[in-house]
């Protein structure tokens, strides 16, 4: 089964494969740099379990689980 950003554990790295969804949500996610090929690392989940914080292109970004579920990821987190 294809994994999404939401399925990653804190500390885990992966590469963005595809961003699903549509309209404003998808656009916003991609505008923030979550484009195919980019490396992400899940840093932590909020104390209540949602949202989560990731590191991407050297900065910190938080998104809700429902948005993270749109981001398909693949193996290959180690610096390409």
């Amino acid at each position: 089964m294809a994994r999404t950003l939401k399925d990653l554990m804190p500390g885990e790295r992966a590469k963005v494969a595809k961003v699903e969804g549509r309209g404003a949500v998808r656009r916003r996610i991609m505008d923030m740099g979550l484009v195919p090929g980019v490396e992400v690392e899940v840093e932590r989940y909020a104390p209540l379990g949602d949202p989560l914080e990731i590191k991407i292109k050297g900065y910190h970004l938080s998104l809700r689980l429902e948005e993270a579920a749109y981001v398909m990821v693949e193996e290959g987190g180690d610096n390409a």
Binding site: M32, R44, D50, Y59, S62, R64, E67
Partner: protein, 693 residues
């Protein structure tokens, strides 16, 4: 005559744009609103080398899409107001994502200068940027700046002037997308008019936006161009061809194209030295966002903010109140009695006092908020609280305004400025009045002391606050479901690095808020104060031209008094008579006025003693309320409920008007709170009677 030109500042949120704006303009700035939207308009002036430069601070955005009002405003200002030069502020320590906006500004084909800001942070973290090379790759002049220390500001002005004077030799090289897309851009461009009078937007940009399915651009094309049908059907063809070839929709391919170009430029021009990358932010977040400690720390900081605002503000408010009372008395005693005296003392002086009295809270709260925002903690607060708030359709950042609402709704509603999304902001504004503010407390105190035994006083009071919170969350859900339907807004939020904001930035922000309040809301509050005064004062004599002997008689016969009597039939089902009606009408000025009005109506000679809760006065009040209006503990409780829920005070409404830019929302707030108050009170009163309370 100095030569003039306009300079627009563009950049991502958190890139230090505001700091540079403040460095450039100092105190010569002006905050307003763009017409029709709740987007803030900031402008300032700077004189440099014989130039008088108007600096426009565009809203901080990550992109220039049609999905958010901020982004539409930013690009419309660039295209329609044609600044002579756009200065793009870029966070050097977060270069790749920041350059994404740069590329989009370049697409708009405007004279551009880049400020590589926070260069010190980038260098400290081991980034080595080849400015010359990057400048060549992007086709933009780059100036190194450190906004917080004022470094590079004059160089930035020099560079801007160079561009304006046309001395800059930079070739206007524009970056190209992959061939499949470039071909379609070219294809679409052919159908767009080249004449600026017909179509003001650059053609290449328009074609890109069309491929991105930009709703605003499509709307404008339909409205303005005769051949819009043809353009749109050509667009459909283009989209099809791209989708067939790339197996991706054009919008995504364009975003990827920009990021791919940036990636390439970044790799060439930036070297990441592998030094020991100790990051203060990451270390701090291990504690501040910790699974166990995160929430207690958050609550602690919120508690401090609340105390800072209201406990520290209390003595100042008292001095202001006393000062205006003294002034009123002084003028009142040194003037002939009569209407003018009353207008001046009870209308205008009391009104101005009523405006200024909120200033300490506003100043302190915004001092706190701009500090928390400047450091970067505010985004963390939203991160910690979002799950709870999101459940009822609010945003993590709605927490601060709601909490502040317990002190005073006025600064609370102003604090919704921290919410970027207009829908989130509006819902938060609408429910904040349900947070039981400090001015409602005197009403509770009096009624509880008069009708409830000491043992249950605490519980009664607590229940009111709780009901306020529950109804606020409920209404948030209702508004979200029925009023603001449609796609839910994404919560894709940057957690900026921690840093110490400059004192100058914090103070300017604080002052800006206070000034906006005084200028925009203050005038409305003063006007309504005078109207309220007139309603409570006229007619000054009985039908035979004699002055009223008894203040109670005067009040009952005033216009406000008559209004109170007129609404009695509506109030009857919730257990109130016309006396309470009058108090509720008067309470629109400020909720604590309910107490003094009741005191006057029941002819409690010493209203001040009642306000201070002196036992004999309270007992007298309880007895008369029971005898004349049939008050029971149930009626008293329902009156507290009504006071909690019904119309926010006029100052709050003035601030809602100021923050939303239209009378629609304050009027809606009046409507919904009255309906809600009546419904809840009806259920409470009739239910209470049934179970025999």
């Amino acid at each position: 005559m100095p030569k003039r030109f306009t300079l627009a500042l563009a950049g991502n949120p958190n890139c230090g744009k505001t700091t540079i704006f403040n460095e450039l303009t100092g105190s010569r700035q002006h905050v307003g609103n763009y017409p029709g939207v709740t987007v803030e308009k900031k402008e300032g002036f700077v004189s440099y080398k014989g130039y008088e430069i108007k600096v426009v601070d565009l809203p901080g955005t990550y992109s220039l899409t049609a999905y958010s009002p901020d982004e539409i405003v930013a690009r419309d200002v660039i295209v329609e107001e044609k600044p002579d030069v756009v200065v793009n502020i870029v966070d050097a320590s977060n270069l790749e994502r920041n350059l994404y906006l740069t590329l989009q500004i370049k697409e708009l084909e405007v004279p551009l200068v880049m400020a590589m800001n926070m260069a010190d942070v980038a260098e400290a973290s081991g980034l080595e940027i080849d400015y010359e090379l990057l400048s060549r790759l992007l086709g933009v002049k780059i100036v190194r700046t450190v906004g917080t220390r004022g470094e590079g500001i004059t160089e930035l002005l020099e560079a801007a002037i160079e561009v304006v004077e046309g001395r800059s030799e930079r070739e206007e090289k524009s970056f190209r997308f992959r061939e499949e897309i470039e071909k379609e851009i070219e294809y679409l461009t052919r159908y767009l008019p080249g004449d600026e009078k017909e179509w003001i937007y650059p053609r290449r940009w328009t074609a890109i936006k069309l491929l991105e399915s930009d709703k605003e651009v499509i709307r404008k094309i339909k409205a303005k161009l005769e051949n819009s049908q043809e353009i749109l059907s050509r667009l459909e063809e283009s989209r099809q061809r791209i989708e067939n070839m790339l197996n991706d929709d054009p919008e995504m391919a364009i975003i990827e194209g920009r990021y791919a170009f940036i990636r390439g430029a970044y790799r060439e021009a930036v070297r990441e030295k592998e030094i020991d990358r100790f990051s203060f932010t990451e270390a701090a977040d291990k504690v501040l966002l910790n699974r166990v400690l995160g929430i207690p720390i958050f609550l602690g900081i919120m508690w401090l903010l609340f105390q800072f605002t209201f406990t520290l503000g209390a003595p100042f408010m008292e001095w202001i109140e006393e000062g205006f009372a003294w002034l009123g008395e002084y003028i009142g005693n040194n003037m002939n009695e009569g209407m003018l005296n009353s207008l001046l003392v009870d209308g205008i002086i009391a009104g101005v006092g009523g405006v200024i009295v909120f200033l300490p809270n506003i100043l302190l709260l915004f001092l706190g908020i701009s500090f928390l925002e400047g450091t970067g903690y505010m985004a963390r607060a939203a991160f910690v609280m979002d799950k709870v708030m999101h459940r009822v359709g609010l945003h993590g950042k709605s927490f601060v305004p709601m909490l502040t609402g317990f002190g005073c709704n006025i600064p609370a509603i102003m604090a919704t400025r921290t919410l970027e999304n207009p829908k989130d902001r509006l819902v938060t504004i609408l429910i904040t009045p349900l947070m039981s503010c400090g001015a409602r407390l005197p009403v509770y105190t009096l009624l509880i002391a008069a009708f409830f035994p000491k043992e249950v006083a605490g519980n009664v009071l607590f229940s009111l606050y709780l009901i306020g919170i529950i109804l606020a969350l409920l209404m948030a859900k209702v508004f979200r479901t029925f009023l603001f339907k449609g796609e839910s807004e994404p919560f894709v939020m940057e957690l900026p690095i921690y840093r110490l904001p400059t004192l100058k930035s914090v103070l300017i922000h604080m002052w800006e808020r206070a000034w906006l309040y005084l200028r925009k809301a203050g005038t409305i509050i003063l006007a309504i104060s005078v109207i309220m005064w007139a309603l409570l004062t006229f007619p000054m004599t009985d039908p035979y031209g004699n002055e009223w002997e008894d203040p109670a008689e005067q009040l009952v016969n005033s216009y406000a008094g008559r209004m109170g009597q007129a609404i009695e039939p509506v109030l009857e089902p919730i257990g109130f008579d016309w006396r309470t009606g009058i108090a509720l009408i008067a309470g629109f000025a400020a909720k604590e006025v309910v107490v003094s009005t009741l005191g006057t109506i029941y002819s409690i000679g010493d209203v001040e003693a009642l306000e201070e809760g002196e036992e004999t006065a309270v007992k007298g009040f309880a007895q008369r309320a029971r005898e004349q209006s049939g008050f029971t503990p149930l009626t008293a409780y329902v009156l507290m409920l009504f006071t909690l829920l019904y119309v926010p005070c006029m100052a709050t409404l003035a601030v809602i008007k100021r923050e939303t830019g239209t009378w629609k929302w304050p009027l809606f707030t009046v409507f919904y709170t009255v309906v809600l108050a009546w419904t809840v009170c009806f259920i409470a009163y009739q239910g209470g009677k049934i179970i025999g309370l």
